[in-house]
Symmetry: C2
Subunit: 213 residues, 2 copies
């Protein structure tokens, strides 16, 4: 069998050297570079750098929220599973309501998906939270709908729903930002839970230290 | 705010219509089409259809293993979190050893990553299992190394590690297949836990029923 690199520090160094060599990061403000670097690392695609959009204060707001112990609200279990707990010294709660017992009935009642109904259960946690959406466009649409209706604003919305129906549209709505929220999003169809978790991890500690693989 | 599609069945129908309209699925054998369809759906990228490789008996071996209750071995928690348990009537165990207490010490001992060391803890579960790798190239390399050294073969290896160091190489090694394993893999840097979970879900039940978002 072919030889392969086994030292986590060497893998880390080579990975990030590749990102720096191939990606165009000049247009990113300084504090966003670790985030885009982690996002690229999570999906293996250099070219997503060209589709990332964000509000100017997103990193600062997200980092401060995490450091002060804000809740992290995720649209699915996979996003929660990718958040590295040792990066969160304040012991932030990671909350996923998608599989709570009342969700299917609530989805029927509001005429929307289970993912959207799960957003309605975020309740008081929403105020000042870090929201990470890595699966369902309807969760992101529902969140924006609720903020428009007067729900409290999270500290930052990390918008990475994925797919062919509503993903590009919900992220365009987030990025148009008539509600004045802090946000990060990847335009278009691409996204996913690994990217959403990577964004949370980047807001917490910047780039990885080579212990992840 | 712009209107959006809220009915899960309609979202499902439109998503899969898009995949069928845009993807080139002619080269896929019949029983692999639900798997590639789910993989495309999981990552929002039609073009991954052109990079999927598989052994002829992969679907059959994987499906039968899942239906008969085989263990599902994953390289990280995110892959485990994406496996939809209601698709598994045999109540298969989903096993992730990455965060077991002995892993860091074992990694040092074998001079490899934690992800590789975790593979060494799969032990007796490996025989006839469904292996789903969605993060670490070193986990896939280590598995192949162990099989070469005489470890029992899993029923099927779903190889979707991601990234810039070893991902393409480990999947090329898997696909060259001197060990005669059943496998599915995505050539190149792209991969990830959502794709790996989607492949497991496809082996269990084919395409989704629209309840997923």
């Amino acid at each position: 069998m072919r030889p392969y690199l086994k030292d986590p520090q060497a893998i880390y160094a080579e990975s990030f050297q590749t990102v720096r060599a191939e990606a165009r990061l000049e247009r990113f403000q300084e504090d966003m570079r670790p985030l885009i670097t982690r996002v690229i690392h999570a999906c293996g695609m250099i070219e997503v750098a060209d589709r990332l959009v964000w509000s100017e204060g997103a990193y600062q707001a997200g980092h401060e929220a995490l450091m002060s112990g804000a809740s992290i609200l995720c649209d699915c279990e996979m996003v929660g599973a990718g958040i590295i707990r040792r990066y969160l010294p304040a012991g932030n709660q990671v909350i996923v309501t998608l599989n709570e017992a009342g969700v299917p009935a609530l989805a029927k009642e509001i005429g929307n998906t289970r993912s959207a109904a799960a957003v309605d259960l975020w309740g008081a946690h929403l105020d000042g939270a870090v929201v990470a959406i890595g699966n369902a466009p309807t969760a992101l649409f529902r969140l924006l709908e609720r903020i428009e209706a007067g729900a409290p604003k999270p500290a930052v919305i990390l918008g990475f729903p994925v797919g062919f129906v509503g993903a590009a549209e919900s992220k365009a709505e987030l990025a148009a930002n008539p509600r004045g929220c802090e946000f990060v999003a990847l335009r278009g169809r691409r996204g996913g839970s690994a990217i959403a978790s990577a964004a949370v991890n980047a807001l917490a500690v910047g780039t990885p230290e080579g212990q992840d693989k």
